[in-house]
């Protein structure tokens, strides 16, 4: 019997800089597995965000660009417009995509740009030290909401997948998580589907991945996983929000 489990070709040997219990590593691996399975590594270009994943390019073995904070969807747009034959994905956190980069992601999605976004939602700014993000949960304590997120002052957390799914342009928008093994295979299927839609030139695709940040949440990895499951998942429900097939003649996806 041959070896059945191995490191994807699309992943490098670089030791990780991510914290213990962080879900970026799992998500990187899923993306890399999909790239391998589709055999697209030699025509794939990733775009790294600003945030914990700013050096994502150290872990992937395909071409990579590094964006300014929030601007990855604009760079992906530029690239896909001039090179539609390339497979392009952006990998963005919630500060990057849902705060400073909200304009870029909304317009890229609305134009139906044919690239894929992996959107990692861990309810906090990670790299800058745990500040409040647009996705921070009500009453969640962060370094800039030390008394907990006061929704009367700063509003409710933004549900990015729902917001983008509300656009009339056909797209594949889904929310997944990788916090427990039972979710991981589903997340991988969704990532694969997202890349396949791009490969077919069909639509914009975005996979939101509910994630953990034990370091900035001040929890052990296990506590973080449980908190994500009991606090985040009820607010950020999993599943496909929209598929290109669900939009007919410009009517809403239900």
């Amino acid at each position: 019997m041959g070896k059945t489990f191995h490191k994807p070709e699309a992943l490098s040997d670089q030791p990780t800089h991510y914290c213990p219990g962080c879900t970026h590593g799992v998500i990187h691996r899923l993306v890399a597995e999909v790239i391998d399975e589709l055999g697209i590594r030699d025509r794939t270009v990733g775009i790294a965000p600003v945030g914990c994943a700013v050096m994502a390019y150290n872990y992937f073995t395909c071409d990579f660009q590094e964006a300014a904070h929030g601007r990855a969807p604009a760079m992906a747009t530029g690239m896909k417009r001039v090179r539609p034959d390339l497979m392009v994905f952006t990998y963005q956190g919630d500060g990057d995509l849902a705060s400073i980069g909200m304009g870029e992601i909304v317009h890229a999605a609305n134009r139906g740009e044919k690239f894929t976004t992996i959107f990692v939602n861990n309810a906090v700014y990670g790299m800058t030290g745990g500040q409040m993000a647009p996705t921070t949960m009500p009453n969640q304590r962060t370094t800039t909401s030390p008394f907990g997120r006061n929704v009367a002052e700063v509003g409710m957390p933004i549900k990015v997948a729902e917001l983008l799914a509300a656009l009339q342009t056909p797209a594949y928008i889904t929310r997944q998580t990788v916090i427990k093994p039972k979710y991981i295979l589903k997340a991988k299927k969704a990532i694969r589907k997202a890349f396949e839609y791009q490969q077919e030139g069909k639509c914009f695709s975005l996979v939101e991945v509910v994630s953990t940040c034990p370091t900035n949440w001040g929890m052990t990895p296990l506590e973080a996983v449980n908190w994500a499951e009991t606090t985040m998942l009820p607010y950020y429900p999993l599943g496909d929000l929209k598929t290109p097939e669900s939009v007919n003649g410009g009517t809403d996806a239900k």
Binding site: R41, D42, R43, T44, V45, I47, A48, V54, M55, Y57, T61, C62, D63, F64, Q65, E66, A67, A68, R71, A74, M75, A76, T77, G78, M79, R81, V82, R83, D85, L86, G103, E104, H107
Partner: protein, 363 residues
């Protein structure tokens, strides 16, 4: 092709296509929107890419993304829009991607006005965005020169792997002049395989390319900046362009002026000559690199008593003129902004009054 009568903005769009640039991203802003309007129908005719972005911020990064995968790409905007693109310019310069940015300048600061201005000199030549970077800045004085500079800009951007900026004022964009599109300025793109994220398959390579601007190691970042500086120094050695006017005469006054303003100065110089007062002019065609030596040499001429920087701004280029002259002759400034272009008569009067005060000081 024979000469055609064209509006500056449209000629700039056509010149990009003639230069082999088939990728254009932009956001509407007065007084350059005609470039986007023109290319919105011309690009499809040549199977090119035209996209109106959602903001100048986004457009800056569309340019970055496209340039980073090795495409010949251009955007056009006007002053406030260039401010928004300046973030991207800093990233593009650091990541060493070739791209062409056109600024059809309008009056500032703030929302300013929509009439011609040269108030973005500092922004274009001293940075604009953050960090130590330079743009190669070309300043046309006619629609014809705008066409030639757009066509030159792409090979220059590719030679240095650096953004090139064309600085035209609103007049260059808005006026109509006869233009000729020279075929000989069309160049093949340089090979991008060593750096562009064009996909490994495209370049038949097993090595991936990375376009980035993050250097957390201080030694690496310093080294990268030294590398960029060496490039900018090479521009200073190889790319300085300027046009002298009436420089063979025994001029008492040397004018330094660029773009539309230099054309007004030319008329004033001709009129003054008829009156018996000789005035020379150096017209920088590159604002960075700046023709320092040419200006210093011209100012050093024995007959020259005074150097005047005449610009449609409150005195920006004059700082570079002072730096160039190095105290050998007095340097003065005259200018107007907000859209009022000084007339030849005004320039003549200014020259007379400066000559008079220079004489007084001598006595």
């Amino acid at each position: 092709m024979s000469k055609v009568l064209m509006k500056g903005n449209e000629a700039i769009g056509e010149a990009a296509i003639r230069a082999g640039c088939l990728n254009y991203f932009a956001y509407p802003i007065t007084p350059q929107s005609e470039v986007a309007e023109y290319l919105s129908h011309r690009m499809p005719e040549v199977n090119g890419v035209f996209l109106q972005g959602e903001s100048e911020v986004a457009v800056g990064y569309m340019i970055f993304g496209a340039a980073a995968c090795g495409a010949r790409v251009m955007t056009t905007s006007s002053s406030p829009g260039i401010s928004l693109m300046s973030e991207a310019l800093s990233y593009i310069a650091c990541a060493q991607c070739p791209a062409v940015f056109v600024n059809i300048m309008r009056g500032g600061p703030g929302l300013g006005g929509i009439l011609p201005s040269q108030g973005d000199y500092f922004q274009a030549t001293k940075g604009g965005g953050h960090g130590d970077y330079r743009l190669l800045v070309l300043a046309p004085a006619s629609v014809q020169e705008a066409v030639e500079m757009v066509m030159m800009a792409f090979p220059l951007a590719e030679k240095y792997r650096n953004p090139v900026m064309i600085m035209g004022d609103g007049l260059i964009g808005q006026m109509m002049e006869p233009v000729f599109f020279p075929d000989n300025l069309k160049t093949e793109q340089l090979n991008t395989d060593s750096w562009a994220t064009s996909g490994m398959k495209t370049r038949g390579s097993n090595t991936r390319n990375l376009v980035k601007s993050l250097y957390l190691d201080p030694i690496q970042l310093n080294n990268h900046n030294l590398h960029l500086k060496a490039k900018y120094d090479r521009m200073k050695a190889e790319e300085i362009r300027f046009e002298p006017y009436n420089i063979e005469s025994g001029y008492q006054v040397l004018i330094v002026s660029y773009g539309t303003m230099s054309r007004v100065c030319r008329t004033a110089i001709d009129n003054l000559k008829a009156e018996g007062l000789e005035v020379g002019m150096i017209r920088p065609q590159t604002l960075f690199p700046f023709p320092e030596a040419a200006i210093r040499d011209a100012a050093s001429k024995e007959s020259c008593q005074i150097v005047i920087s005449i610009e449609m701004s409150m005195g920006q280029m004059v700082e570079d003129v002072e730096r160039s002259v190095r105290g050998r002759k007095p340097v003065e400034w005259y200018g107007k902004c907000g859209g009022e272009v000084p007339t030849p008569e005004e320039i003549m009067e200014v020259v007379h009054s400066f000559v008079k005060s220079a004489r007084k000081e001598q006595n």
